[in-house]
């Protein structure tokens, strides 16, 4: 009886060892397969065949830089309004540039290697500290790549929006994009100081403005 038991135990041990071996081999096979599941190519030997290769590479670099003109960096100011309603109030620097042009501009650096499209938006309505508002549609603009008495034109006036829209296309490196701004203030507008922020974004020409 004990010999029979001993025999069973030995047989059981042999089976266990075989199982361990089989699974170890399976594990090795599984882990040596390529990640894609493809089989490894067979090694082949060929005679009298020569082949050489060389490395080819190109890096395409783009860079662009913009800056506001001094008067634009100081803000778009409409001064004091004493009579209401007031329409088409000129921003203070709409006509004080050379040849009565605008001095509100954004420059593209000569150290840019791509033409630039400009995008414009405002963060919100013109808002007072007491939360009175002049709606954004009343703040309007026009733009032009050159400026004089008639450029940027006075019509059509384009209302500012809270999303970026194009406001100057294909402005070359070393050039400027000029703006004129106007403001309408309705008769019922409460007195006070009204502020917001106008954003200018430069993007590689023909690309969308984004959010």
């Amino acid at each position: 009886m004990s010999e029979k038991k001993k025999g069973i135990l030995s047989w059981y041990s042999v089976v266990l060892i075989l199982v361990i071996l089989v699974f170890a081999v399976l594990l090795i096979i599984e882990n040596t397969k390529p990640a894609t599941g493809k089989t490894i190519d067979k090694i082949s030997l060929t005679g009298h065949a020569t082949e050489s290769s060389t490395y080819s590479n190109v890096t395409i670099q783009k860079y662009l830089s913009i800056a506001t003109c001094t008067n634009m960096s100081l803000g778009i100011l409409f001064g004091d309004v004493s009579e209401l309603p007031a329409t088409n109030i000129n921003a203070s620097h709409n006509y004080d540039g050379a040849s009565s042009g605008s001095s509100l501009c954004v420059n593209v650096s000569a150290d840019s290697n791509t033409p630039v499209d400009f995008c414009i938006k405002a963060n919100t309505d013109l808002t007072s500290i007491d939360l009175d508002v002049i709606v954004l549609a009343n703040e309007t603009y026009q733009n032009s790549s050159t400026t004089n008495l008639t450029l940027p034109t006075t019509s059509p006036e384009i209302p500012l929006t809270t999303g970026y829209v194009k406001s100057g296309d294909n402005i070359a490196a070393g050039s400027e994009n000029y703006y004129r701004f106007w403001l309408d203030v309705p008769a019922s507008q409460p007195s006070g100081d009204y502020n917001n922020t106008v954003y200018f974004k430069g993007v590689t020409t023909s690309l969308a403005c984004g959010a």
């Binding site: 670099q61 860079y63 913009i66 001094t70 960096s73 803000g75 502020n195 430069g202």
Partner: protein, 197 residues
């Protein structure tokens, strides 16, 4: 005479230094990034300022890219005046792509999985934006609009699905462990019986 000299000096200053404020510039050499899903990767953009005033800039990503971005170097960066594009300052941001493609798993939706990659490639399109920091900028006076500028570079993140067959390694390891334990118990029992005899 003195006034005349002063006028000449002022005119020279205006001619040499154009009437511009501090500016922002971005330099990049990558608009598309192919990244496997569930992988962390970092991209480097460069900022520069060829204008005659120092500037402070921040780097941001557009909303479309935010779901996959884990980290952006968001501190304000000082960019000295007259920094040309050739000496642009690198700014790095890192992101981890999410696991978005369907896997066929045998256990707990996570173990012993295979991936066939039958879905279309998922692409996140957005922008890397360099903007003039508002903290260092004067506002637009008592009434009117303050102004702010930014530049942007397009970025497309293509999330790659890596196909793989079901990986049975876990099952093999578990079976080998169980077999090993049983064998050890068996050998111990044998030894114990021998000792008893």
């Amino acid at each position: 005479m003195n006034l005349k000299k002063l006028f000449i000096v002022f005119s020279m200053f205006v001619l040499v230094f154009p009437l511009v404020s501090a500016g922002v510039g971005i330099s990049w050499n990558k608009e598309t990034s192919l990244v496997p899903e569930n992988t962390k990767t970092c991209l480097t953009y460069k900022v520069y300022n060829p204008w005659p005033d120092d500037s402070y800039v921040e780097i941001e990503l557009s909303e479309e890219l935010l779901p996959i971005v884990s980290y952006v170097e968001s501190e304000t960066k000082f960019v000295p005046k007259n920094t040309p594009s050739s000496e642009a300052i690198p700014v790095e941001f890192c992101f981890k792509t999410p696991r978005i493609y369907e896997q066929d798993c045998l256990l707990f939706d996570k173990l012993i999985c295979k991936q066939d990659c039958l879905e279309d490639m998922q692409i996140y399109s957005g922008e890397v934006i360099v903007l003039e920091s508002n903290d260092y900028k004067s506002s637009g006076g008592s009434g009117g609009s303050a102004t702010a500028i930014s530049v942007s570079a397009p970025l497309k993140v293509k999330v790659q699905c890596v196909a793989h067959k079901r990986n049975y390694s876990l099952i093999y390891i578990v079976v080998v462990l169980i077999a090993g334990i049983l064998l050890a118990i068996n050998l111990l029992n044998k030894k114990r019986k021998k000792n008893k005899k």
